[in-house]
Amino acid sequence: MLAMKKLFMITVLVVPMIVGAQDFDKNLASARTAYGAGKLEDARFAMEQMLRDLDIAIGKEIVKMLPVKLGTLDYIAKADNVTGGSGSITGLFVHREYGMQPKSGSIEIMNNSPMISSLSAMLSNPIMGGMMRDENQKQIKVQGYKSLLTKSVNAETGKTNYELQVPMNNTLLTMRMDDTTEGEITTLANSIPLAKIAQIAQ
């Protein structure tokens, strides 16, 4: 039974990586052939696909770093989502969900998010921060990263939900959690290896 479980895990984890590597190699060969033949636009297209393959590979590495439990909430394996966005505005995108309604949570990592510049300006500039002040928002530090914590109350259940946004260079990590406290979401955020994620996502 244990051997079967191991085999299953190997299949689940390794096979997609091999498929990803094959795509990268295939697109690399296409790029080289097209470039050698002077078909520059075809070479560029193949390289765009390679960038997407790379983003997916990076996303899979990041997913491994995310916690499997968010407090008492278990992660939902089938909801894990990793996409590469070469050719679109955003690049890498990683999404993981935890728990079920009414208490659920999620972690998202996105490169080149449109939110990043306004969020960073707000966090680094006291004038901007003052102008955009909201009584439900608070600036905190998570592992040394200036972050924005936003509180909201669910009108139906009356429970308090929190969203934490941590900008790290061009990567934005967003953590959401229902029915929680500031202390709990901050503690959970501190368990995520932010510096490692920022490093690999660049």
């Binding site: 636009e41 560029r44 790379l54 590979a57 990076i58």
Partner: protein, 279 residues
């Protein structure tokens, strides 16, 4: 005696107030005087040397600091008013496009070593190299003259970020050394393209200027286009190409709309489409 003491005290107090209120003014005057004196002395004793050093600096001499050294303030010969030396040598940045084949090999090596960040960087450099090559090919395909206007090779520009969404931009300017000018910009940029497409898809943009038509749809060599006119900037013609590219012509001092269209037709639009991989 008492009145004498009171008088001395009052006088001292008045003097102290006057002194305090004028201290800053006096100080400023003193500083000004010192500065002028210093300049005069510098001029008297080192004027010749300063001029000599400045000439040497312009011809590549390493002695650019004059008598005052690198932080010598106003006495430094190549220093600006802030006291820092100003740059008057150096060859600028090397503008060689990235080596595509080398960067592809680097990307492969890094990918195999699971250094994905490095692989992505190398790949982006390779893409940058390819985009610059595409841009230069397109520039070569553009005519030498359009409607009697000559190209200005120094203004030729190919800009790429190596990231598909931000795009590739190619620009050439034609002019007649007087006041007539045509700027041709070819952009492979999905966001810009979608903005132009709004004109075609949204009827709300039609006739919104109280009967005065500042833009309209037209065709250039069979391609749908938008032509705009502004009294300050002249004609602007935008021709979308395929899915994510477009050509923008900006004509200053073109007499009529047909003149502008004729100038636009001098460019091989189908050839550019092909080079950009558009259908």
């Amino acid at each position: 005696m008492k009145s004498y003491h009171a008088f001395v005290l009052t006088a001292a107090l008045a003097l102290s107030i006057t002194t305090t209120s004028h201290a800053q003014v006096l100080n400023k005057l003193k500083n000004k005087g010192d500065q002028k004196a210093s300049e005069a002395i510098d001029k008297l004793f080192s004027g010749k040397d300063k001029n000599k050093n400045q000439t040497q600096g312009q011809t590549g001499s390493t002695d650019q600091t004059g008598t005052g050294g690198p932080s010598g303030g106003s006495s430094g010969n190549s220093s600006g008013s802030s006291g820092h030396p100003s740059n008057n040598s150096g060859g600028g940045l090397i503008s060689t496009p990235p080596d595509v084949k080398q960067n592809l090999s680097d990307a492969e090596t890094s990918y195999k070593a699971a250094s994905y960040g490095e692989a992505r960087y190398a790949l982006q450099q390779a893409m940058l190299g390819v985009e610059l090559e595409i841009g230069n090919q397109i520039l070569k395909s553009l005519p030498e003259t359009i409607s009697g206007l000559k190209k200005n090779e120094e203004d030729d520009q190919v800009t790429s970020t190596g990231a598909g969404w931000a795009g590739l931009t190619i620009q050439r300017i034609y002019h007649d050394d007087k006041e007539k000018e045509l700027t041709v910009t070819i952009a492979n940029n999905a966001m810009w393209m979608s903005a132009v497409n709004m004109y075609f898809t949204s009827g709300g943009y039609a006739q919104t200027n109280g009967g005065q038509q500042n833009w309209k749809q037209t065709k250039v060599k069979g391609n749908r286009a938008i032509i705009e006119y502004n009294e300050g900037s002249g004609y602007k013609l935008s021709v979308p190409l395929g899915q994510s590219s477009l050509i923008v012509y900006e004509g200053v001092n073109f007499a009529t709309e047909p003149d502008m269209i004729k100038a636009a037709e001098a460019i091989d639009i189908d050839g550019i489409k092909k080079m950009l991989g558009e259908q």
